[in-house]
């Protein structure tokens, strides 16, 4: 027997979408507050306090933080013991259509060539839903709305296997080329290895990791990024990136794929554990 009804699931996904758009995760709020505290540039400081105020108003009023409410990425973790008697993809799409009207969300989804807007934030391939199968009895949904300003600044390179030292340069050049356009302070997700497409997925996963867990290599990259001095909104300042995260996978002996995914300060993510 199904562990939950379709109606209950849809209702909860609508709530999850609304939460992801209106309340920023605590780790990001703390990172922004710390950044504000130690910022020495007055212009950057004014931008950071505007961001912190905006976060507070959005939470109080239950309004979307940013008018670019993004496109939607869902990650479903489901255990082998879980029985569901409805189509999860369809139910997620229904919840997204409904939230588009009620919150409201900006209708952002268009056909790539005709640019015709679906008006309900769904379309071919969107929302992007991935399933992770586990051994136990988990049933958990993660949602990540992604805006275009930062996504458009992301890049991928197929480096030569001997070009290990080029990784750092590629990350820095990507952040430099982006300047103020992805709404810094940003989070930089780097995917190294795998294949052309796996590197991209790794970079997105890396961008979505909690902000307080950088290793030495990531710290080194983050320090280098912040040396550029691009600062909040590209107007100059001490902090360009709140964090740089690197996820790796094994790859072909003849390849070295590197992907850099950029996330704006509105680092929106939320999850709901059903079981």
């Amino acid at each position: 027997m199904s562990i939950i009804s379709r109606d209950f699931f849809v209702k909860n996904i609508i709530e999850l979408i609304i939460r992801s758009e209106t309340i920023l995760p605590m780790d990001t709020v703390i990172a922004l507050e710390n950044t504000w505290q130690k910022e020495s540039n007055t212009v950057a400081k004014s931008q950071l306090s505007a961001i912190l105020k905006n976060i507070e108003i959005a939470r109080e009023k239950k309004y979307p933080l940013c008018q670019d409410t993004g496109i939607f990425i869902f990650n479903v973790t489901i255990g082998k013991n879980i029985v569901i008697d409805f189509n999860i993809n369809d139910a997620i799409c229904e919840a997204l259509r409904s939230a588009t009207g009620t919150l409201p969300l900006r209708p952002n989804v268009v056909h790539p060539l005709t640019r015709e807007n679906s008006l309900d934030n769904t379309g071919d391939g969107l929302p992007d839903i991935t399933f992770n199968l586990t051994e136990g009895s988990d049933f958990e949904i993660f949602v990540y709305p992604k805006g275009a300003g930062s996504e458009n600044m992301s890049r991928l390179a197929m480096l030569k296997p001997s070009q290990n030292e080029e990784i750092k340069r590629f990350v820095l050049e990507t952040v430099f080329a982006a300047g103020g356009m992805p709404c810094p302070p940003i989070i930089v997700g780097v995917g190294i290895g795998g294949s052309f497409d796996l590197a991209s997925r790794l970079s997105k996963k890396a961008a979505l990791r909690p902000l307080d867990e950088m290793n030495d290599f990531e710290e080194e990259l983050c320090d280098a990024v912040n040396t550029l001095g691009i600062g909040a909104m590209g107007l100059g300042g001490d902090t360009t990136a709140l964090a740089v995260h690197v996820n790796t996978a094994h790859c072909h002996t003849a390849s070295l794929p590197v992907a850099v995914n950029i996330q704006c300060w509105a680092n929106r993510r939320a999850h709901k554990k059903f079981v």
């Binding site: 905006n54 309004y63 300003g149 820095l172 709404c183 909104m233």
Partner: protein, 197 residues
């Protein structure tokens, strides 16, 4: 330096603003993005009168989200959009309408010489859509609504709207360009250091 100005803006008022200064604006701003720019330029080239007066006016690169209750509009979200898309249409706007300031995000590459003695570019914090909505006290009017909510020209009455950062001043100084010049030097230094190890 911090300034407080009221619209319409005079040439004397904007000459006081220097790149990097902070400004809070009271008075009126006109939203205009891609389609509104096209419409304004089209009217100018055909010598048609615009339905609004842009002398001393402030243009805001913004596609707002509003709710209508009864006969009145409520602004839900009104953050800045990327100004880069309007760069090509801006010279004609600045030269022919008498606007004194443009609010947006991300800057407008190469426009500093055009702004000299005429106009300033003001940066509003990207993503701060609900904060911006708080600074708007009233919707005074809306023009060209047939373009859709995001593309129409909205006349917003604002009070202490900001913080706005003077990104490009009327002396040809572009703060974004200065930041990128420094970043470029820092990048070269890091790359050279890692090349030599």
């Amino acid at each position: 330096m911090e300034h407080r100005l009221t619209t319409p803006l005079t040439k004397e008022a904007i000459l006081k603003l220097k790149a990097g200064d902070i400004l809070y604006l009271t008075g009126k701003v006109f939203t205009a993005r891609d389609e509104a720019h096209k419409h304004i330029l089209d009217a100018l080239s055909h010598h048609r009168k615009l339905p609004f007066n842009l002398t001393g006016a402030v243009i805001y690169h913004c596609g707002p989200l509003l709710k209508k209750t009864g006969n009145s509009w409520q602004v839900v979200s009104a953050g800045p959009t990327t100004s880069e898309r309007m760069t090509q249409m801006t010279p004609a706007l600045v030269k022919n309408t008498g606007i004194r300031a443009i609010i947006g995000k991300g800057g407008m590459k190469g426009t500093a010489p055009l702004f000299r003695g005429r106009c300033v570019y003001l940066a509003y914090t990207g993503g701060c859509a609900v904060l911006a909505a708080e600074g708007i006290s009233r919707v005074a009017n809306v023009h060209w609504q047939n373009l859709g909510m995001a593309e129409a020209v909205w006349e917003f009455e604002v009070k202490d709207f900001g913080p706005l950062i003077v990104g490009i001043d009327s002396y040809g100084v572009d703060l974004y360009e200065k930041v990128l010049e420094k970043a470029s030097e820092a990048l070269k230094a890091i790359v050279m250091a890692s090349d030599s190890t």
